[in-house]
């Protein structure tokens, strides 16, 4: 049985708004094993993003346990325009995680060029700013920056929703290729059932902060148990 990378036990998460504490996540538990892609599907406002921020330690208003066995996971954001620092060059963005880990300058440069090539960008974009790239290229930079520190688990929060259909397909292929080549595991979040079907091994359905159904992809899609999952499948075109 592959090593478990992430264990989440009875997680409750809250959102503090002007003193009032609103509970967003209710008793969420799941595990991710090495090499596994866990697809999380749910509509906007169901707590998907709160979950990803809780796992990454950005949101501390939580109780319950989050056990990282595979080191600090990295994140790929939905909107490539706002997740990359507009004032920095692509090269410096890629080297940032290595710089924080104390990797020497020369080696950082080599690894950055290597990463650009791996995600299908030519090394000339090293000097360019995110502003000068297309949506698809920017998302490739986002992915490169996430995996350059060789994390075992990458959390992708709606990584393709903001892209055009043809570009979306290319980025999904990239995610699947990187998974095979680098043995990465993903927590892949999307509201699009078809995208989830294409990339996930196991699927988790979330409604209003609760996990309503979990299971291998084909079981969940072929004979969904929970009415909400059925509703999502019927609504998907």
């Amino acid at each position: 049985m592959a090593e478990t990378l992430l264990e989440v036990r009875h997680l409750n998460a809250f959102y503090r708004n002007r003193g009032r504490r609103q509970q967003i996540l209710h008793d969420v538990s799941f595990t991710i094993h090495e090499g596994e892609v866990l697809g999380l599907v749910g509509e906007s406002g169901c707590g998907k993003t709160t979950l990803s921020r809780a796992i990454l330690g950005i949101n501390r208003e939580i109780d319950g346990e989050i056990l990282h066995h595979g080191g600090q996971p990295r994140m790929v954001f939905q909107d490539p325009a706002s997740s990359l620092n507009p004032a920095w060059t692509v090269g410096r963005l890629l080297e940032e995680p290595l710089r924080n880990a104390g990797v020497p300058k020369q080696e950082r440069l080599a690894r950055a060029i290597e990463m650009l090539d791996l995600v299908g960008l030519d090394s000339a974009s090293y000097e360019r700013r995110p502003g000068g790239l297309s949506g698809g290229q920017r998302q490739r930079v986002g992915i490169a920056a996430a995996i350059i520190g060789q994390p075992k688990l990458v959390i992708a929060d709606e990584p393709v929703s903001a892209l055009d259909v043809t570009i979306q397909a290319q980025i999904l292929d990239l995610f699947m290729r990187l998974r095979k080549e680098l043995g990465l595991s993903y927590l892949f979040i999307s509201h699009d059932m078809d995208v989830i079907w294409q990339i996930s091994d196991t699927v988790m359905v979330m409604e209003n902060g609760r996990i309503v159904e979990t299971g291998p992809r084909d079981d969940v899609f072929r004979d969904p148990q929970h009415p909400y999952t059925k509703k999502l499948l019927d609504a998907a075109l």
């Binding site: 950005i58 994140m75 706002s82 997740s83 620092n85 507009p86 924080n100």
Partner: protein, 267 residues
């Protein structure tokens, strides 16, 4: 090809010319600002005396340059004190938030209920007048307005994805603030410094006009305007020349500030 940012260009030039003139004044002035030339009393502006002379025969252009120097110095130091402290306080409270941020925000709101000049006058009445006291008083009084602007910028940027991404990538809080956020708020800070400079010039001029600011023998544009107002009937050019010089100085920096803001929007 980026649309030419005229506001920035004109503002930059006017401000540069005025500052250059004043700096030149520190080294050379057409006449000795305090020399009394009895024969040339109350002369209207002419080639010999660009701004004319006052009732003691002193060359007004030289005096305006000298007065401008004091105003420039005070405004520069005020913005330096207020800007630096304001930026430090604003960035910390904006980024870290929490109780300190709330308390300082409330304090900032109640202090801003007092008009700056009113506070300055009160402080001056307690600590006394004079160039260096004015710098200290105005400098401290400008901290809240700078802090408020900087806090707003940092609080806005802190919640954006690229900042969260930076924290996930292991960057410490200070690296996030100064390496990640600062380059994105740089132009807003610069434009508020330019606008702060104007407010400082206006505040100093106002106080000196009320003879509560710079005291003789230091000259200041505000004091000169007060003197000029006395002889408005006989020498209108005295007030007009001093006033226009000050307006040009302020116009330069306000266009500069606005130009930087337009630059920001185009980025």
């Amino acid at each position: 090809m980026k649309r030419r940012n005229w506001t920035l260009r004109i503002g930059g030039c006017v401000a540069a010319v005025m500052v250059a003139l004043i700096l030149l004044g520190t080294v050379w002035t057409p006449y000795d600002p305090n020399a009394l030339a009895g024969a040339e009393k109350s002369m209207a502006p002419c080639l010999a005396h660009l701004f004319g002379t006052d009732n003691f025969g002193r060359d007004l252009f030289s005096r305006v340059l000298e007065g401008g120097r004091t105003s420039l110095l005070i405004a520069f130091c005020t913005v330096a004190i207020g800007g630096v402290c304001g930026t430090v306080i604003g960035s910390l409270t904006g980024y870290f938030g929490g109780l300190v941020d709330e308390v300082l925000m409330r304090f900032n709101d109640s202090v801003s209920a007092f008009p700056n000049i009113l506070l300055a006058l009160v402080c001056v009445s307690i600590f006394g007048t004079g160039k260096y006291k004015i710098i200290l008083v105005l400098g401290v009084l400008f901290i809240p307005s700078f802090a408020r602007i900087v806090r707003g910028e940092f609080a806005r940027e802190r919640s954006r994805d690229y900042v969260e991404n930076a924290r996930i990538m292991g960057a410490g809080p200070f690296r996030v603030m100064f390496a990640h956020i600062l380059p994105n708020v740089k132009t807003v800070l610069l434009s508020s410094v330019a606008i702060g400079f104007n407010n400082a010039v206006l505040a100093e001029a106002g106080m000196s006009f009320l003879s509560m600011g710079v005291q003789p023998p230091d000259a200041s544009l505000g004091r000169m305007l007060a003197e000029a107002q006395g002889s408005l009937f006989t020498m209108p050019w005295y007030a007009l020349s001093t006033g226009c010089f000050m307006v040009l100085l302020i116009l330069g920096f306000s266009l500069l500030g606005q130009g930087l803001q337009e630059q920001e929007r185009e980025l």
